[in-house]
Amino acid sequence: MAKLVGVFASSHAPLIIRSWKDVSPSHQQDLTRSLTEIGRRIKAARPDVLIEIAPDHWVNFFINNLPSICVGMGEMHEGPTEPWMKDCPFKKISGHPKLANHILQTALELDFEPSVSHHLTLDHGFCIPLWRSGLDPLPPIVPIIFNDLEPPYPSVRRCMQWGTMLAEAVQSYPEDIRVAILATGGLSHSIGEPTMGEIDEPFDRECILHFEKGDERPLIDFLNERLPTIGNGAAEIRNWVAAHGAAGKSGFEMIGYCNCPEVYVGCGFASWNLGASV
């Protein structure tokens, strides 16, 4: 049977690529250290497949057809198409259709209704953490897109349930493979809104505290209350919630936090301690 060997989360701020030279040396150091550590931990977990949860930044979907949650079933995914991601080494990214299909079937059996795609383009939200954490060569990726960009969003509670279900899907997959999960996005930021550029560090710190405590209800209540009141980019914390659910709602460890106005994002990096069995 497959084994869940690691759960991780990482911000994916575009300006880490687009305007790296404008980032202060100390913030460059902080971000590089955290991304490198994420990469080190993922490599140490030796995953045969990486499930990656990220939003779609208007690359695959539009408001004529906007899935809430979409599982990427393809044998191959396209790399990022944003012009400023042209130096990203991942032009084609291998998928893992068998695990993706098992996730799909598990989801349906447990009364989830995912959308599916057999050919996704993985934008910067997927690729910046893969690239900047030094994961080259990449393991096959099963991408799962959460709609964090355009309301209506999946509920925070549903995202937690998705994470729990993903862990069940991994554990019931019949092949003896090692699987890790990487959630990307967040923490606080605001894009294209009057508050663009504002980072709410007190919110981020409180959010981190809730993940550290682990308890499901206070975390969900906190996010339900606060997400509508801060910048739109924080909606991506839903992906971290799914990771938290997959990790069994415990073992959260913050690797690094950088309030980085140069990239408009309160950048967070985390992993979950799954215990000694992995």
Binding site: H57, W58, V59, F62, I63, N64, P83, L149, E150, I191, G192, E193, P194, T195, M196, G197, N232
Partner: protein, 93 residues
């Protein structure tokens, strides 16, 4: 509320570098392909951030003004002004 065709215009422009280039050279020809309401088209032609911000996803709004070459500083100024104006309207009922 979302204006579908305005959103589609912004989505298409940020999806295709050649279309973006064509738009910068000849916006009228591209705008003619979209059934925009007159007041929406006027706002696009004027680069009226405050008007457009009420009708499209904020990410698409930002991507559009990157495509047309508005500087980051100018976009930030306009989008923040739009927010302040909306807040003032709201406070006056």
């Amino acid at each position: 509320m979302r204006d579908y065709w305005l959103s589609k215009l912004f989505f298409d422009l940020q999806s295709s570098a050649p279309l973006g280039e064509e738009y910068r050279g000849s916006p009228k020809q591209i705008l003619d392909r979209y059934p925009l309401k007159p007041e929406v088209r006027t706002a696009v032609e004027r680069g009226d951030v405050a008007f457009l911000a009420q009708r499209v996803n904020p990410y698409l709004l930002r991507y559009y003004f990157v495509v047309v070459g508005m500087s980051e500083a100018e976009f930030l100024r306009k989008v923040r002004t739009a927010g302040a104006a909306a807040a003032a309207r709201s406070s006056h009922g």
